[in-house]
Subunit: 335 residues, 2 copies
């Protein structure tokens, strides 16, 4: 077929209709773009997490990072406008009001969006891991959230952030490890000399820890940065092994709370990088709590999930259930 493509709305941003997929998490934005049906043609990453302010997730800060990257990707891939956009964002369910209010209109204005999906990061993790099958996915990185669906509704468990929950996630493990280090420093019961030595290697004298942690806006990420040290100590240090065992129980608790009977369960996210020190107790706890759930490996990551959602948005109905907090689709004028 060598006919030149005809466009219904030629204009200054000439090019194909594209999709844009975004994963906004604790370490920054990950963005992919392409032509629907062909998968991502390009990807970009930022290292600046989107700020959270009095109105929740800061839509302006997200847009200020996203729009220039999207235009770069559009130029690279020959895309004229991003008719379908899927944004997965950490904290969307509880801190996403401003994002839901402001983002679709802004994406229509700046990038030509016609349909915009806003998804909790757990939903993009789900879609990346399992696609549109029923099941349960635990997304365990800095934070931790479990979502499950029978394709009629979503259930979620945890994902409350590092002060109210995210039990068993990276910040939870790192925080528990630092507490055990400081117990050893103080001579309190329950301390770990191994973790104290690791904390000193990582952060210097521990009396400087509060000053290094509390003024920062990325406290959860700082805490999570210590989780690999806990995993590294677990082979000889019962305190570290105990922390990882309790983390694994929390993961299983969250999975069990959302799991539809007879469906698969998947654990995905950066926590799996902790290796066997975490994987072994995790397998044991999941087998005990969900003995009849086949455990499957994730097919892809949250950005893959956002890509799947965006490509479906561009071409037809989204078979995952919509619900105001977990996954909402806005169709804009002209869309």
């Amino acid at each position: 077929m060598s006919h030149p493509q005809r466009r219904s709305e030629p204009g200054p941003s000439a090019g194909a209709d594209g999709f844009l997929a975004v994963d906004s998490g604790g370490s920054g934005l990950r963005v992919a773009a392409g032509i629907p049906g062909r998968g991502p043609a390009g990807r970009r990453v930022t290292r600046e997490p989107v700020r959270t302010g009095q109105r929740g997730i800061d839509a302006g800060h997200l847009l200020a990072q996203l729009v220039p990257l999207a235009r770069e990707l559009a130029a690279q891939a020959g895309i004229g406008r991003f008719t379908a956009v899927a944004v997965g964002a950490a904290g969307l369910a509880t801190l996403g009001d401003a994002l839901r209010a402001d983002l679709p209109g802004a994406l229509a204005r700046d990038l030509g969006a016609r349909r915009v999906a806003l998804a909790a990061d757990a939903v993009t993790a789900y879609a990346g891991a399992l696609g549109v099958r029923p099941g349960a996915v635990v997304a365990a990185g800095t934070g931790l959230i479990a979502v499950g669906t029978d394709l009629t509704r979503w259930r979620r468990a945890d994902g409350w952030g590092h002060l109210l929950g995210d039990c068993g996630g990276g910040a939870w493990i790192g925080r528990a490890g630092l507490e055990a280090a400081l117990r050893a420093h103080d001579g309190r019961r329950g301390g770990s000399a191994e973790l104290l030595a690791r904390a000193r290697e990582r952060f210097g004298p521990v009396t400087g820890l509060p000053g290094a942690l509390y003024p920062r806006s990325d406290r959860a990420a700082v805490l999570a940065s210590f989780a690999p040290e806990v995993a590294a100590c677990a082979d000889g240090d019962p305190v570290s092994a105990g922390i990882l065992g309790e983390a694994a129980r929390h993961v299983a608790d969250a999975a069990a709370a959302v799991h539809p009977a007879g469906t698969p369960v998947t654990v995905t996210g950066g926590l799996l990088k902790l290796g066997d020190a975490f994987a072994v107790p995790l397998a044991r706890e999941l087998a005990e709590r969900l003995p009849d759930a086949p455990r499957v490996a994730a097919e892809g990551d949250p950005l893959d999930g956002a890509v799947r959602i965006a490509e479906r948005l561009a071409t037809g109905p989204l078979t995952l259930p919509e619900d105001g907090r977990m996954l909402s689709v806005t169709t804009l004028p002209g869309g």
Copy 2:
């Protein structure tokens, strides 16, 4: 003796030499002033906690609140200058570098200070509770810290703040209570329906909790505000009772780490307001961990302790041990 008092340095701020005592904590400043040897002549309270920034405790923010109050108290009590000032501050040991660097000079300039004591809030709590006796004091409010001394050196345990420790304090209890409430909301194991009901009464729908908590700068105080609800549920709810029992164990752990053999132990601070739900397990845990330590009631509070330190500074040597982080005395030119 009716001779008119002679002053060595008459000036615009004529009046007696006074002392100023300050307790800077999570709920604001408490200030007392008077003539040495006569106890406090006046007191003031603010409701704005001193900010913590990149340089630690913000000395400028403390001064901006303190100086006007001190001048009011001086006018009221006929004080010309505050030659002796004692400031007890939460976080001094770990976040006090800027305070130690900036405060003595500023107090000399603005209030005529000649000797300035900067004390960790745990040291003022100690001095208020036990005076200059050897012993151990656990100061348990929003946070938790234990200090002990044999009068040659200080030992401290915990006081690391709500993310790294303060185990068993008000923020710790409230946080654990909210986690249990959210476990019930999610259907995770370990939840408490009673605490969930209390959380809804206090904060509205729990899906709004992260948005109500994380953007605030006084997160520890918000968490601690839920501790009384945990205490109120403990009489029928095993989850709440379990949280308070674990808190009591943490208090005993901290006390045991700093306690000189054969000396008394005191628990002081707002946590005692939780009543028997906390006092009963606390007495049990202290008796088990420190069976030979007589438990005594606090004689006074941290502001009383700051008053004791300031009055001693004005009149002679301070018999409590000095150490850079816990208690430091600066003698200024002319002092």
